[in-house]
Symmetry: C2
Subunit: 339 residues, 2 copies
DNA sequence: ACTTGGCACTCCGAAACGTCGAGTGCCAGC
DNA sequence: GCTGGCACTCGACGTTTCGGAGTGCCAAGT
């Protein structure tokens, strides 16, 4: 039903519409692409494509516009990922290498992604549950106040203050610190909780209130607080399309302010190992029905830790965006592995 | 020159314009406020106000709109701060009390501020230089890798990894840790740099390469990295005025993405002790000439640590916004003091 | 010296209208 | 199955018209 030329016509429509943002008609098509047939022929093809639901007309006697289904076909079968230029690659690498700690890596990544793709960028912090404990530190801040610092192999650092009614001797702190590290160092955070569950029993009775308090804070940090953080950049890029969706920008901005929405957005990817593209209504969130999300996972050494991606209007340069997202994810992975 | 009635007219114009967003004419004025004179009289007053530069007409034979100067007079002399309702106060307090660490306090504060004022909120992290060192921790992560953790009395935690060519003995780490803490604990970060400058000399020669490396990382953290971080929320609120400035929203969003701009914005306050209001062109940044900034400082126990504020169109509810900013700043101060 | 009603004037915004051109669908012929 | 021709549709755009809100000014009233 869809012969080669029809597919070629669809590709041409998508490309033209992405670059001009105007419904594209049969005549303009044959002029700009060297399809070797007449406009009338194209019109027949267009009718077939419309029949199949790949394109639509905004109103009778206007040009055609790709539908979500049309973009989907385009992405799946008609476009090949556009690699970055060497200059871009170099810029990305040197910019990311300047990062000083994990926060900085994430901040730089998100800004970079926004700049390169000229869309809204979203980066999730390396997940706590999928990373391993590198070290647990207990610091006596005051006679009855202990700071618990949890360091993961992804460079993430979580801290909590634990308060007590009574004074805590330094050697108690040292003992718990040693015991904790012996149990959890090197383990995944998801396993660590189970590993310390019965730890309190190995302490003498008079120490147990203190140990219990520390452990419960620790558990809280490990479990109750899967607190997947997400950062955002490039919202200004939304306004590049203010003419596309003049009042639609409002709900989009609102949706983007919700951490939960962003997380779900990144989590919706079907196969996190590759670059996932969700187009228009394929996104579950109501306000994002007119946008597309291009995302992938990243992580050090093959281990997927978290996701990153960009969001833009369905009318976007998919080839370029996919390439950029993939490249940035790779470089971040390298940087994280090297830390 | 500006008698009481003229001031009253100005107030009425500002109030009407803020709520309706339409140029206000003499007839509508006398109808909505019970000025006890005729429209013709008001017209004379308006002419005088326009003469003085407090109001302007968008075009001949249109109503009047307040100028920056008009808003300034209104804020300085005609409006009194609107206190929050008890319900709002309670909501603020309980919401902030749920915070688990400094990051969380800041994140919650900025969202709260955005929600309460329905504007764009900006919160600066407690400044490093104005807070004191509570503790420095050194952790041996690997034979040749040390993690430096700096904890301030404002709850802020900075970490850096230090790498070496050769193995570091555990007792070397302990020695440096003790020496560092003895020198800097309790000191302001701004003084700490000087306090450790000659610390290396108290170590035996074979330890010095290690000590020097740790100290230089420490100095970097203290000085070269005054990295005043800023967080933002409520950009979606900008679109509430998309009709006011349809295309002006773009540069504003762009400006807001620049950390430096935000910092300068908060820094421009003349007197940080009170709530500062900068209207329209009073803001130095080009893109923010059509916006107003309401900001103040906050901190634990009288000590100003950093600033927070909101940004919105010059046409904003100043009384309410000032009240909200002040209240939030106070509550954050309390929370920080209690940590 | 203010205040007021009246009046002529200005100018924006909305609605109505006509025109233009791009685009379509269909059909007959190649 | 492709092509040129043709009639038709419909939105975009420029022009025109019209009404209303608002102004400034003036002369009269208090």
């Amino acid at each position: 039903m869809l012969d080669d030329r029809k597919l070629e016509v669809l590709r041409a429509i998508v490309e033209d519409f992405v670059s001009t943002n105007e419904p594209v008609g049969s005549k303009a098509l044959v002029e700009r692409h060297n399809l070797r047939v007449s406009p009338a022929t194209i019109r027949n093809d267009m009718a077939a494509l419309e029949e199949g639901g790949y394109i639509a007309q905004p109103h009778t006697s206007a040009g055609r516009v790709p539908t979500d289904k049309g973009y989907r076909l385009f992405v799946d079968r008609l476009s090949s990922v556009k690699p970055l230029t060497p200059a871009e690659r170099r810029a990305i690498q040197t910019f990311l290498e300047g990062a000083v700690d994990l926060d900085d890596v994430v901040r730089r990544t998100v800004r970079l992604l926004a700049q390169v793709t000229r869309q809204v960028a979203v980066v999730q912090y390396p997940s706590l549950s999928r990373s391993a404990v590198r070290h647990v530190e207990l610091v006596l801040l005051a006679p009855a106040r202990v700071l618990l610092v949890l360091i993961t192999d992804t460079g993430r650092v979580e801290q909590r203050v634990v308060e007590f009614a009574e004074m805590i001797p330094e050697d108690a702190v040292a003992g718990v610190r040693a015991a904790l590290n012996a149990r959890v160092a090197g383990r995944l955070l998801s396993e660590a909780a189970a590993a310390i569950a019965d730890l309190v029993e190995s302490f003498p009775a008079e120490r147990r209130p203190f140990v219990t308090a520390v452990l419960s804070t620790m558990l809280e940090t490990l479990v109750e607080h899967p607190d997947e953080r997400v950062v955002l950049a490039g919202t200004a890029n939304l306004t590049r399309f203010s003419l596309d969706f003049p009042l639609t920008i409002r709900p989009v901005l609102e949706a983007l302010e919700e951490q939960v929405v962003l997380l779900r957005l990144l989590g919706e990817a079907t196969d996190p190992a590759t670059v996932s593209v969700r187009i228009g209504a394929e996104n579950l969130h109501e306000a994002l029905r007119t946008t597309s999300v291009v995302s992938t996972s990243y992580g050090a050494g093959g281990q997927a830790l978290a996701s990153l991606g960009v969001l833009g209007p369905t009318r976007m340069d998919y080839a370029g965006t996919i390439g950029a997202v993939r490249a940035v994810a790779r470089y971040v992975g390298q940087i994280l592995a090297g830390t």
